[in-house]
Symmetry: C2
Subunit: 218 residues, 2 copies
């Protein structure tokens, strides 16, 4: 059955999923890359970027698992790029160059319609201007029974959490204090929304990997 | 040198240091005890409560270390008891019975003066009505070169963090979602206050133990 999942989403000890002041030079915000130190060292990351080597072990295991059985992705617009407001043209084609690491349909939430964009390696960006429910419906249809991964950023995950539409989340708690940026859970009552932690495993560079799922309480 | 430290302070994945609705039946707030699951199973906890047995290992190690070299404690009033406003009488003598687990002077922050209270086992409660700086000064004088441990709750730790007066914190990230309660870091810019994570070790029942210190940045 197609599940809606979040995988390998990094948060700081103080709860931020990205640093402040995201722009073209800082796609993860100021000091945001520190959140991904655990990931950038893995063999999985290296392989995705055409390199060999990298660390194996628990951080690499969860990194690899985070790409398994994904039939479609949903991304907030800021995860696709730094362009704000109406698209001035079609020049911006994502942060990842001509072959993004998705290889499946990717639904980008935006308020401004744009034609789909076919990239090398099977990634196809679809721009969804009619809301999170429509994006999820389209993503599920495209996923053909595989999972739909909500890639982020924090604001997008928060919208789907609030709507109780995420089945399962893997968060990597990174051993850093960002102090500001995009907070993942602030103002969300994760317990009332039905979420519980069902598993935690220590990382090597990550402080911990925690796994949350939505349950129906009696 | 006497340091000001926080030790074994548990926070949920969503950042709460206690559950909501603390009262005499729920000194840690609703579902607050879940935060301390890692601690309640340790040999250290058992020994403090006159029992034998309990788990050894990393959670027990940090629990034991959390009581080492402590010369004085500072507690917020809610950690001392559920009484609010002026003391109606001197009947309330803390949550812990006649022999509290401190065995050194404990400075309780309050807006309402009260005579010191000598307990069995060397604990002596002092009630400080003139603010956090005064409490720290008195605690340091009593600690005779040992460390001053800020026991909590979250509001008390937040006051000392904001004043940049805490040198070192050990937080146990517990694998639970509380959804509400007393948040430790919300609205605090821990990076701007000078804090960094310098160590993290996996817990067995705790998701991770993280160690933060205050540094002077260039």
């Amino acid at each position: 059955m197609s599940r809606v999942i979040v995988r390998a989403f990094s948060v700081s000890i103080d709860g931020f999923g990205a640093g402040p002041n995201q722009d073209i030079d800082n796609p993860l915000g100021i000091r945001g890359p520190e959140l991904f130190d655990w990931f950038f060292h893995t063999r999985t990351w290296n392989a995705q970027h055409g390199g060999a080597g990298g660390e194996t072990g628990v951080d690499d295991d969860v990194a690899a698992q985070s790409f398994e059985n994904i039939g479609a992705w949903i991304l907030g617009r800021n995860m696709f790029g730094p362009v704000r407001g109406p698209w001035p043209d079609e020049a911006w084609r994502g942060w990842w160059g001509e072959e993004p690491p998705y290889h499946v349909p990717v639904f980008v939430l935006t308020h401004h319609a744009r034609k789909p964009l076919a990239m090398d390696g099977g990634t196809r960006f679809h721009f969804v201007a009619d809301g999170i429910h429509s994006a999820l419906e389209q993503a599920k249809a495209s996923a053909k029974g595989k999972d739909v991964r909500i890639g982020g950023g924090a604001a997008t995950i928060r919208q789907y959490l609030r709507a109780k539409l995420i089945d399962d989340l893997h968060l990597a708690i990174s051993p850093v204090l960002l102090g500001g940026g995009e907070h993942l859970m602030q103002g969300l009552d994760m317990h009332a929304l039905g979420y519980e932690c069902y598993r935690h495993i220590p990382g090597k560079r990550a402080a911990a990997h925690v796994f949350l799922r939505r349950i129906t309480r009696p």
